[in-house]
């Protein structure tokens, strides 16, 4: 059975074509770029909410898109256990739509930040991390103005292993120097309780080809390979 993944094109999304490129040309799976109003959950095995500035993010990052009909469809996928990933603005949307815990606040610096950073894998059992090992350090870039993760439920998130990635240095130490936005406990990505939905601020689609990485690495590929693997196991 062939696998079909959707990349939702919200008005103002701008990493949509990048995600399509990686799935098409790097991962080699069928992918549809689908306008948010036209998205139907039943047609797809998994979905990507790409980065960008949906509806300009004029009110609060992700809040308007969180009310798009696409999110009602995505909710069905969530229930069915299909994989859903929100990257950067996609993470902000999923947090606003309460697929994921926590909120993303303005960066501590109050400035947009675009740079390659390192994240440490804390949970490799989610739909998007099975190809990684716990403790792995990944090279990946961030590019956001509102990525400071905050939750008032830290204890529960930790106990439920919902913290998937933390910003770290190259040795895996969780330091304030390696935290690009002031996120609580250096949290870079979280998942839902069922672990089929992941949100993260860094951009795996920008880290999937060696030519784009200052380190020649392709760590971003692991997210999408895990996703495909998860879908294959699910439908077999």
């Amino acid at each position: 059975m062939s696998i079909k993944i959707a990349v939702i094109q919200f008005p103002g999304a701008n990493c949509d074509l990048d995600a399509v490129h990686v799935l098409n040309s790097v991962i080699n799976v069928e992918v549809n770029l689908i306008w948010h109003n036209h998205f139907k959950a039943s047609h797809y095995d998994g979905v990507i909410l790409p980065g960008g500035f949906t509806f300009g993010d004029y009110l609060r990052a992700g809040i308007i898109a969180a009310h798009s009909p696409a999110l009602d469809e995505a909710r069905k996928m969530l229930k069915d256990g299909k994989p859903i990933i929100g990257i950067c603005n996609g993470f902000q949307i999923l947090a606003e739509a309460e697929f994921l815990p926590g909120a993303l606040l303005k960066n501590e610096s109050l400035k947009f930040v675009c740079k390659w950073i390192k994240i440490k894998v804390e949970n490799n059992k989610t739909a998007f991390t099975t190809k990684m090992n716990k403790g792995d350090i990944l090279n990946i870039p961030v590019a956001h103005g509102e990525g400071r993760f905050f939750t008032d439920n830290l204890k529960e998130l930790t106990e439920n292993e919902q913290i998937v990635f933390r910003y770290s240095n190259e040795n895996g130490d969780i330091t304030s120097e390696s935290n690009p936005n002031g996120s609580m406990e250096n949290i870079a990505g979280v998942c839902n309780l069922e672990q089929n939905c992941l949100g993260l601020m860094p951009h795996p689609e920008r880290a999937s080809e060696a030519i784009l990485s200052p380190y020649g690495t392709t760590h971003g590929k692991l997210f999408f390979e895990s996703m495909v693997d998860f879908i294959k196991r699910r439908i077999s």
Binding site: P11, G12, N14, G51, G56, Y58, K111, C114, A143, R206
Partner: protein
């Protein structure tokens, strides 16, 4: 004082007497108020290039003389064929005046405008670059304010539209204190077919004219006339002439326009920028040889009660005009509906060659389509300023600091230090094309997905050099900016420029402009670089202090790299490798950072350009590239060669053991030697096994190449072979100084 004043039925225009006479003669009647307003805008310096046009003729006809140039000067953007069916469109523009009084929206709408210029060539904008000029930051809250909000304006707008800002340049100099420069460049990529689809012309009668995007409001009225005069104490009151940007709508316009063009039903495309509807409609019909009837009541306005004058002259952002084939109207409108974009079918083209605009039953505009675009040129006087001889004769004083102290001071100076504070705020990676990222090369390098081609782009010029000698300074700018793309392994393909100068009515300001244009034209002809577009910004003067900016002809070069393995980056790679210098170092310290930082001196002899030597050096480098002999490359500019070498050491925390005994010409003082800004030099890293081969090639190409040292793993620069004893410089300390200057000034 606004140019058009309406008092009851009376109108006062600031057009010249001959212009008024010509207009009345052409129409054989008194124009309506709206028509006067349209003439006023279209005859402004900003729209008509009436002072600059005679000089810009010096640039040769790029479309005629270069077979890969698809569109040259005079169009919304230059377009070149890069092979395999792809083309690149690029252009650079100024947004100086708005940014000087409202830095955030001024810079943001500058980005908005340049994106539209590229979009109306039918291609997708894929990169932005921003050369900027401000007054010095130190102890200067006004400069800090402008700098902070210009950068934020660019970041917020560019990041939101999903176009990476891949490069730029910043200089700080007193002359830009009240007139900051904000130049914005954009590159677009598409297929040649996309480009051919939708020219900026309405050449077919019977087509529909559609206005798509944002609503027409009262903002920005007379933005171009405001940009065509000097800043005064009253300029703060001009804030309403600055438009407000909406990057989200712009992003939707980009997607809707690209999808509409793909339908094949769009026959013409034009953005609404300076001059608003007046400019767009007259240029579409004027250049297409058609006319049009427009129903003004169809235009969606932001507020009720706007009169025809305001509607025709509004410069509200985020609007595009489409000329659509009748049979495809529904298909195009369907695209706009999908993206939830507002649109209005406002009229149709005809074969009358007359632009008619109705407001209900009133014919408010009735003009020959070409009347607005045929502004007469004005010959301007030129005069070399008297102060130059004295400035040029200034000698380099004897420094009281030792060499080591001077180097540490230079690397921390505002014009040399790291600009990371700026580019961290720009999303420079969206689009998954950025291969050489900000800080890793002299230029930004992007891949063309689906090919093994890469493009390299760089912008800038040295304003201080141009101040002392605009002719040589402009040439030197070309050497440097071409050098930037060559250092990354590219061959320069084409150039666009943005001329920022003072009041052209003043002979000295016009002399600077004229000399700079001549320098660029001469160099480009000799080195075979087509000039495919340009923009002129005059009146960068402050009437309060009566000072003009240092005339700044910003240059943008786009180059092509054929193959991933041919990309070369700036950082030194491996201890044990050779460090070679290509080119001569002469005592050319005029306008140098050394003079300015250490002695607060502006004068001296600036670098001169010898085209034949430059040509030989470039060809020599291409030959080294062909044989894969270069491991790292960086062109030498501000601060001289030690600064260049230090910048190459930073990334991989390497050091350099330098011995100048063979290269250093002892007729020169050693400070002059070390801090000279002679143009056209490169520092390259090579494998020592290839030394003989490289020297052999250098002889063949008649190029001066010297080995000046080797790379070491210890992070220090050791200087030997000078008149003084060995100097050791600590790379980590240099890096700390290099990195901390701007954050220390800006993060209070």
């Amino acid at each position: 004082m606004p140019k058009v004043e309406i008092e009851g039925d009376k109108i006062k225009v600031d057009l010249t007497e001959p212009e008024i006479k010509q207009i009345k003669g052409l129409l054989e009647r008194e124009p309506s108020i709206t028509e006067w307003g349209m003439f006023d805008v279209m005859h402004s310096e900003h729209c008509s290039y009436k002072s600059s046009r005679p000089k810009l003729k010096l640039f040769e006809d790029a479309e005629k003389n270069y077979d890969y140039v698809l569109a040259g000067p005079g169009q919304d953007a230059g377009v070149i064929d890069i092979g395999e069916g792809y083309c690149l469109a690029f252009r650079i523009e100024s947004h100086n005046h708005p940014s000087a009084i409202e830095p955030y929206h001024g810079a943001a709408t500058g980005i908005g405008g340049i994106i539209r210029d590229i979009l109306c060539m039918g291609v997708r904008p894929i990169a932005l670059l921003d050369p900027l000029r401000f007054g010095p930051l130190k102890n200067n809250p006004h400069s800090q304010w402008l700098f902070k909000y210009v950068v934020k304006g660019i970041a917020d707008y560019g990041n939101c539209t999903g176009i990476p800002t891949i490069g730029g340049e910043v200089e700080f100099d007193e002359s830009f204190e009240s007139n900051c420069l904000v130049n914005v460049a954009c590159i677009g990529l598409g297929t040649i077919e996309d480009f051919r689809h939708a020219p900026s012309k309405a050449f077919h009668p019977g087509d529909y004219v559609i206005l798509m995007g944002g609503s027409t409001g009262r903002d920005g009225i007379h933005g171009v006339t405001f940009a065509s005069r000097t800043l005064t104490e009253m300029s703060e009151a001009d804030r309403p002439a600055v438009q407000i940007g909406d990057p989200f709508t712009k992003k939707m316009i980009i997607e809707a326009t690209i999808e509409a063009v793909k339908t094949g039903y769009v026959r013409g495309l034009k953005d609404l920028g300076g001059g608003g509807l007046s400019c767009a409609l007259s240029e579409l019909t004027g250049s297409g040889g058609t006319g049009a009837e427009i129903d003004m009541t169809k235009i969606f306005t932001r507020e009720p009660g706007m009169n025809s004058f305001e509607i025709m002259l509004s410069e509200s952002q985020e609007r595009m005009a489409f000329i659509v084939k009748p049979e495809g109207l529904e298909n195009v409108l369907e695209v706009f509906r999908k993206f939830e974009m507002a649109y209005a079918v406002i009229g149709r083209t005809d074969d009358s060659r007359i632009l008619k605009v109705y407001q209900n039953d009133n014919l408010v505009v009735n003009l020959p389509a070409t009347a607005l675009s045929d502004a007469p040129t004005i010959p301007r006087e030129e005069k070399r300023p008297d102060y130059l001889d004295e400035l040029l004769s200034q000698k380099t004083p004897k420094p009281s600091l030792d060499i080591k102290e001077i180097i540490y001071k230079l690397i921390a100076s505002e014009n040399i230090c790291s600009k990371e504070w700026v580019y961290r705020q720009y999303d420079h990676e969206v689009g998954v094309r950025s291969v050489v990222k900000c800080g890793d090369g002299d230029s930004g390098v992007l891949r063309i997905i689906g090919t093994n081609k890469f493009i390299s782009a760089s912008v800038g010029v040295n304003s201080k050099h141009c101040y002392l000698d605009p002719y040589e300074g402009a040439k030197g700018g070309l050497v440097e900016i071409c050098g930037n793309v060559i250092a990354n392994g590219a061959k320069p393909m084409a150039m666009v420029n943005c001329c920022n100068f003072g009041n052209p009515e003043k002979p000295v300001s016009f002399w600077y402009f004229s000399q700079a244009v001549k320098g660029m034209a001469d160099f480009c002809k000799e080195l075979r670089i087509p000039v495919v577009g340009g923009n002129v910004s005059f009146y960068n003067e402050d009437e309060v202090t009566n000072t003009a900016i240092k005339g700044t002809p910003i240059i943008m070069i786009v180059g092509l790299i054929e193959g991933e393995e041919k990309i070369i980056t700036l950082p030194f790679k491996k201890p044990g490798n050779d460090i070679l210098i290509i080119g001569d170092t002469n005592a050319e310290l005029g306008g140098s950072e050394y003079h300015s930082v250490i002695f607060d001196l502006e004068g001296g002899r600036p670098p001169k350009v010898d085209e034949q030597r430059i040509k030989a050096k470039w060809n020599f480098l291409y030959e080294l590239y062909k044989n894969d002999l270069v491991i790292a490359n960086h062109d030498v500019n501000k601060g001289g060669l030690i600064i260049t070498i230090a910048e190459m050491c930073f990334k991989n925390k390497l050091g350099a053991k330098l011995d100048f005994s063979e290269y250093y010409n002892k007729e020169m003082r050693q400070d002059e030697f070390l801090f000279s800004e002679s143009v056209g030099r490169f520092i390259i890293e090579t494998d020592s096994q290839n030394y003989e081969r490289i020297i052999g090639l250098a002889k063949k190409f008649n190029v001066k190449v010297n080995k000046i040292g080797i790379l070491i793993s210890n992070p220090e620069i050791i200087l030997e072979g000078l008149e003084i004893e060995t100097i050791k410089l600590d790379i980590f300390q240099m890096k700390r100084l290099y990195d901390s200057t701007i954050p220390n000034l800006m993060e209070i």
